[in-house]
Symmetry: C2
Subunit: 393 residues, 2 copies
């Protein structure tokens, strides 16, 4: 397809939800105005099958470039995933198997495919960085590493924090920027997209492309989605809203978001303009956000269904229309054993916490005695928190 | 051959010219007393064909272990030579070709072979670390690197100095300890020998052997040979006495050493006991040292010849018995041009410096006018400094 050079459309892509453009907005705009196709990518760390709204914002931005006719690569970090991006990490990460990575990332393509186009005349590509990084030898690495200084790498925020806290930085974590920088060289890209917490890593890629190819790699950082406390919303923080959740769960989480977190997500994940977003009241905004996001991923009908279900449970305070069931043979069980057996709690101490916090209802009655024995009857409904139900059959 | 467990001989090997034993003297002695053969090595950086008295001290120590029946490996760092050991280095080093390394190290084996035995029932081996390091992939390196922390590597003295001086440390230099540590793993050695400036690197090897093989690698550091100012004598400092020089040059350099530098070299490079060394007067000590070292490398006859020659030129102030000759067609030449043409000075500015410092004699007359034209005659002798002569033919 032809590359679209409409300055208004380019401006829109380069402004909406964008944190910064490197080296600067004007240079990238100028490059895009030439009508020459841009090859761009974003890397995804396949540490779990889980994708969140921050990832969705990335897919959205990639789709915007795709719709202008540019070439989009979704890069799965199956090699770098072995090292583990040390961004904000306090502890070493479990290593992944190649199979696990491929399995996790299959899911990424499915979800991204709701937003990006993997077919048609300008299909997005999926690449795996093991393809080139598996072939890098120690000798190659010496050559690559000679383009960076220790001072440059150690300046990274979280390394400085670890040094301050007298926590170890393992030497292999120092190799992460190198591996990711080499991705840009191997794929010969013009542009990288990432969250604003990826600027350091994207700068390394820019430096290496300059050193090895004497060309300029642009990059574009997106705003991070804040959680209610203003922190970045992400996998690491454990506060992310997963878009790989079941649609009812996704609706519930969006509807229960803090009001202040709605506008940034709206701006990042939908086509709505800031004026449109600001004109909505908080409840209306949440409903529209949930409708839009669930429609994008699961379709309009499904979005409509989750809305009805949400109203039924949270507004009308009825039981959900479908409740997971569990068969229990015992005549009675201690409440903690029951919660663990029905998987409403991962273990007894968590079950106890839930009971003491009055988060457990059995047969419509809030339970606060963790020593209590519960008589097991067919049809008994056990509820934890606002949205988790199980029925005994 | 059987391993010798005579405690007196072991003590001698572990004490003479030894700076430290890791983890401690007693553990290594105990290990050697078991009669089990020890596999030990020292690594040599093949940056030039040049070997100095510090290297000779290492060969000597290796030979002592060999004479007790232990297995000795001379490791040529043909892979690590590509990175360049950053010990005390202020600037990046020129990379070596594989061919250059092999050529330089052929010379090492020849010289070492005067002291170590590369034949017989317990021959020393020569290994090249490219054999295993060429095969290390990026993925392997991640695993290796995870055994070290950045804090541990950066603690190295010369890295701290560079940080203090705000000079860059290149990331590939951080990989040097890793490569050298892996040598110990690949060769499965029990012991490493090195100068006391190599302790950091040898500790890394110890750590990696512990981590990957759960076994203990000992190491033994030798005293560094001081130059007249008390600094380490070595290639990097440019003050080393080369044992790959011509024998007359070697005699000259030893005879001109500062008195204070004699005893350490004597102790490090010969079998003489400290008592024996201390009983000699400075001139006698120098003569004996020169005799012993030149005999070891070039044979007794040659040592005797260098002694005669030294006395002829430096005591009797006669011309050397053999003088390099040069054919010059011109009738006269400016003195600076003459010095450059005869290769007694590398360039005209150095030639000028030599003339102004009264370091140049032509036809027995000291020359101090750098503008002077010299009449060229057959048989004219040109002398620079105490020992460099050229005759015009």
């Amino acid at each position: 397809m032809a590359v679209i050079t409409d300055p208004k459309k380019i401006e829109q892509v380069l402004r909406k939800n964008v944190d910064a453009v490197y080296p600067d907005f004007d240079s990238l705009k100028k490059r895009m105005m030439t009508g020459k196709r841009i090859r761009l990518y974003c890397g995804f760390d396949p540490s779990s099958p889980f994708l969140h709204l921050g990832n969705m914002a990335i897919f959205k931005k990639m789709a915007e470039f795709q719709s202008l006719g540019h070439e989009v690569i979704m890069l799965i970090g199956d090699f770098t995933g072995m090292i583990g991006d040390p961004t904000d990490k306090k502890a070493a990460r479990k290593k992944l198997t190649r199979e696990g990575v491929v399995k996790n990332s299959k899911n990424y393509k499915d979800i991204a495919g709701k937003i990006l186009n993997f077919k048609g005349s300008n299909p997005a590509k999926v690449l795996y960085n093991s393809k080139w990084l598996d072939k890098i030898s120690f000798k190659d690495l010496i050559d690559l590493a000679s383009n960076f200084t220790v001072q440059q790498v150690i300046a990274r925020d979280m390394f400085q924090e670890r040094i301050k806290d007298q926590k170890p930085i393992y030497l292999h974590e120092f190799l992460y920027p190198l591996a990711q920088a080499y991705d840009s060289v191997a794929m010969d890209v013009d542009l990288e997209i990432g969250g604003s917490d990826q600027i350091f890593i994207m700068l390394c890629g820019r430096d290496l492309v300059k050193a090895l190819k004497n060309s300029e790699k642009f990059f574009l950082s997106l705003m991070l989605l804040p959680d209610e406390s203003g922190k970045k919303m992400g996998k690491t923080e454990g506060n992310a809203i997963s878009i790989t959740d079941q649609p009812d769960e996704l609706r519930r989480k969006i509807m229960l978001m803090e009001d202040s977190a709605i506008n940034p997500v709206f701006n990042a994940c939908t086509d709505a303009s800031l004026e449109e977003i600001k004109s909505l009241d908080p409840i209306g905004a949440k409903e529209k956000l949930a409708d839009t996001i669930i429609s994008m991923i699961y379709g309009k009908d499904r979005a409509e269904k989750t809305k009805k279900e949400f109203n039924r449970v949270f507004i009308e305070k009825k039981l959900p229309s479908e409740i997971a069931t569990v068969k229990i043979e015992a005549e009675s069980l201690n409440i903690l054993d029951l919660l663990v057996r029905t998987r409403l709690a991962p273990n007894k101490s968590e079950a106890k916490r839930l009971v003491l916090q009055k988060g457990v209802k059995i047969g419509e009655v809030i339970q606060d005695d963790w020593k209590k024995n519960i008589e097991i009857k067919k049809g008994l409904v056990i509820q934890v928190g606002k949205g988790k139900f199980v029925k005994v059959i």
